[in-house]
């Protein structure tokens, strides 16, 4: 009965023009630091370091040697199979080394170091056929792969793989993710405001490649200028609509977005294709258009550098492979009370221990928190306030899962649907006892992967 009631409520809410999902949290947005700042280009650093592993799937294979001279846009590592993506030189210069290098995920990864050529114009030399409409489906996918295009929303899933959904799935809608629900980040916001035509062109290419009749761009209501810009540039010959979404974290999570936009629930353990949809981040879509427009592969991206710990927060076009150190320096450096540097937003972003780690294709933003913001808080036992249950967008029982995690009862955690947890951190955010729930779940997931427990 409760479910029928919830279903009715959600239908009524949709009729009233409120498109959202149940549960979730409302962290402070902090987007005012950079939301109004136009995207600017960052000066080239002295060196770029390009890890071979910066996308989902197999790492790329190096095709250059130490001492080689490379031009901006040259392929330096090729895709290793279908679910893989090549890496291109993001600046002209000389390959000085191919060795292990700090990766933003905290590990070390093989990377190509390029000493950037001084006084080079860094001219974009077109390397792709701009006529995407003349290509057949396979050729188009191969062109997208050759350009090294991956999702820019964080997971860096190769776009060409996404353009080929499983044979048994019927895709009827392309859902464009313009939610950008992570606090501080304004990358997608600026893309939608400044390059709405590119977004629409990207939507056109995606719809063509997927053969879907309609596309819906979901944007959180806190970005009215983005919604306005997209609506102004809507194509007249295609069924593309812009849907304002409720402002709530994690609105940008694939499953939540599909619930909000289409009112469809992706079954546990399944992909969006199982409900007839493909989800692509708005930045990645704009990139797709840009790649065909300029003929230059993915060599740079827009990154928000923000937070109280950085002197001049900005939205910058950054060559992939730029060290965080150089990027932060381009934003005026760290402030005196800067304490923690995050790769990504504050809800799911990863704290960096080494600022030599480079910007990757999937780096959405760099957020620097001040000492006051990272001060540790005392942890208390769980008082069963159930706020985590009310926050979890997947309707898990984090309170129970937390107890099980502390006791190492991994099998029971799996029975309680740990596999559906996407580590969004909503539970940790609301927990008045400061129990590090998301961290416990991440560790438990890792332990399960290690043991290979079924």
């Amino acid at each position: 009965m409760a479910e029928a009631g919830a279903g009715l409520l959600s239908r009524l809410a949709r009729r009233a023009g409120s498109f959202g999902f149940s549960h979730g949290v409302h962290p402070p947005e902090h987007k005012e630091l950079t939301a109004h700042l136009p995207v600017r280009r960052m000066p080239y650093p002295e060196e770029v370091v390009l890890p071979l592993r910066q996308h989902a799937g197999k790492p790329a294979k190096v095709v250059v040697r130490k001492g080689d001279h490379v031009e901006r846009g040259d392929m330096i590592a090729e895709a290793d199979g279908w679910v893989s993506s090549p890496v291109h030189a993001s600046a002209s210069g000389w390959v000085t080394d191919i060795d292990w290098w700090p990766h933003p995920d905290g590990s070390m990864a093989m990377a190509v170091r390029i000493r950037v050529e001084k006084y080079s114009g860094q001219l974009p030399r077109p390397r792709m056929v701009p006529d995407w409409q003349g290509l057949d489906h396979d050729a188009l996918l191969r062109a997208v792969q050759a350009a090294g295009v991956v999702g820019l929303g964080g997971a860096a899933f190769p776009t060409h793989v996404k353009l080929q959904p499983p044979k048994d799935a019927t895709i009827d809608t392309l859902v464009v993710n313009g939610a950008e629900c992570e606090p501080y980040l304004t990358t997608d916001h600026r893309i939608m405001v400044e390059y709405p035509e590119r977004v629409q062109m990207g939507v056109r290419i995606m719809m063509h490649a997927l053969g879907v009749p309609r596309a819906i761009i979901g944007v959180e209501k806190n970005k009215p200028d983005a919604i306005e810009a997209l609506r102004r540039t809507l194509p007249t010959d295609l069924d593309v609509t812009v849907l304002p979404l409720t402002v709530k974290y994690p609105q940008g999570a694939e499953k939540m977005l599909l619930k909000s936009v289409l009112d469809r629930e992706v079954p546990s353990g399944k992909l969006p294709a199982s409900v007839g949809a493909v989800v692509q981040n708005v930045g990645s879509i704009a990139l797709l258009a840009e790649v065909f427009e300029t003929g230059l592969p993915l060599v740079e991206r827009i990154v928000t550098v923000s937070g109280r710990g950085v002197a001049r927060p900005q939205n910058l076009i950054v060559p992939v492979g730029t060290k965080l150190r150089d990027l932060i320096a381009a934003c005026g450096g760290l402030t005196a009370d800067a304490a923690e540097v995050l790769n990504g937003g504050p809800m799911m972003g990863m704290a960096q221990r080494d600022l030599d780690a480079p910007v990757l294709k999937g780096t959405t933003g760099i957020v620097v928190l001040s000492e006051e913001e990272v001060r540790g808080q005392a942890s208390f036992p769980c008082i069963h306030c159930a706020r985590c249950l009310d926050a979890c967008p997947i309707f898990l029982n984090p309170s129970l899962l937390g107890d099980l995690a502390k006791a190492g009862r991994l099998e029971e955690m799996q029975a309680a649907h740990l596999g559906d947890c996407m580590l969004c951190g909503s539970c940790s955010y609301v927990c008045p006892s400061n129990i590090p729930l998301a961290q416990l779940f991440a560790a438990s997931k890792a332990a399960i992967r290690r043991t290979g427990a079924a």
Binding site: A329, A330, P346, V374, P432, N434
Partner: protein
């Protein structure tokens, strides 16, 4: 490499100090356990003040005695190495939960009780009701009610000697300073039966107006239903208690008693009388909503309240005691693990709840 920007803004280069590395999420909501607990203490303060207004200084002394018992027990037997919100080692006292237990226990007692009894009640509530189970968050039963149950079993006369409302603030009612374990003196203060006792044993109905304002005999916090609703409303608005539990309790009491009253009006009191008399308001708003001992799920909370409501009516109407809120809540506390298990939410993207948990309470 120092950039121009760094020189002009005076910011330090990105290399110097080691960076802090913590797990995500890196933002934290505002509420913490101490904020919640001290807010509850704040919401209980008006009730204590009202009790003092109705029953004089003796009411304050009773509450102070039970708080002292609870707090001292927590301090000496609790986890003293626990860190406070500010990070210092201040023991578990700082979280404020022991103070709540003490105040709540005090509010369930009559104003004239010899002070050593509330003190012992506080010791029992925290020692046996909470610390034995592992301290904050691990107890099964509401500690304040367990403390009261103990006092009711140990001192049945003293706990049912209700002083009359009114009189001078400084007048002491009852034998407050009796020596522990000395034979209790016969109460010489003017006493008054509670509305529930009056109805049960003498078939006398108290009018709704005095029940609402609280000018009736009874325990300290049982009197003013209106004030309890106001204070509880504040906590519900700040989301420090779930309104579903009191709503469910009061609705089920009203419905059940309404049916009884409709069937035989001369034998069963009106639902209004049932709602506003005795400890029902205090129990529904402040005891049953104790997060630690209430169910986790919303459906479970409705169920929990329903069970309490039914039990309250059953005990009041057919039981040997005039009041049954305490036992109703304690009984339902015992069912919380089962309620949790039975009402797990449907996981997103699954057809039905399939959470199977072996052993353990949810």
């Amino acid at each position: 490499m120092t950039t121009v920007a760094e020189r002009t803004t005076g910011a330090r280069p990105a290399t110097e100090r080691p960076l802090v590395v913590t797990a995500s999420p890196h933002l934290k909501g505002r509420d913490s356990v101490p904020t919640i607990m001290w807010n509850v203490v704040g919401a209980l303060a008006p009730l204590v003040a009202a009790a003092a207004w109705f029953f004089g200084v003796g009411a304050l002394l009773v509450v102070l005695a039970s708080v002292a018992g609870a707090v001292l027990t927590e301090h000496f037997l609790g986890n003293r190495s626990a860190r406070s919100a500010s990070g210092g080692r201040r023991g578990t006292l700082a979280d404020g939960s022991a103070a709540i237990t003490g105040i709540l226990l005090g509010l369930t007692l009559p104003a004239g009780m010899p002070l050593w009894m509330p003190f012992i009640g506080g010791v029992f509530a925290i020692g046996v009701g909470k610390l034995v189970f592992g301290g904050l968050g691990y107890n099964i039963f509401n500690p304040a009610l367990l403390g009261r149950a103990f006092l009711q079993a140990a001192f049945p006369v003293a706990i049912t000697t209700w002083p009359k409302v009114g009189g001078d603030f400084w007048t002491l009612r009852g034998d407050l300073f009796a020596f522990p374990f000395a034979s209790a003196r016969a109460p010489d203060a003017i006493t008054a039966a509670t509305p529930l006792g009056l109805f049960k044993f003498e078939r006398q109905l108290t009018d709704a107006g005095s029940l609402l304002v609280g000018t009736v005999g009874g325990s300290l916090g049982e009197t003013s239903a209106l004030l309890i609703l106001l204070c509880g409303g504040y906590l519900a608005l700040r989301r420090y208690l779930d309104w579903r539990i009191p709503a469910s309790i009061l609705a089920s009491v009203a419905a059940f008693q309404g049916i009884l009253h409709a069937v035989a009006p001369e034998r069963y009191a009106t639902p209004t009388f049932m709602l506003f008399s005795g400890g029902l308001m205090l129990g529904a708003v402040f005891m049953a909503t104790d997060m630690v001992t209430a169910p986790l799920t919303k459906a479970g909370r409705w169920l929990f309240g329903l069970g309490i409501g039914v039990l309250v009516v059953v005990i009041r109407v057919w039981g040997g005691l005039p009041e049954g809120v305490m036992y109703a809540i304690l009984l339902m506390n015992a069912f919380v693990p089962f309620i949790n298990k039975a009402t797990q939410p449907r996981v997103f993207g699954t057809s039905r709840q399939r959470v199977v948990v072996r052993g353990g309470a949810a």
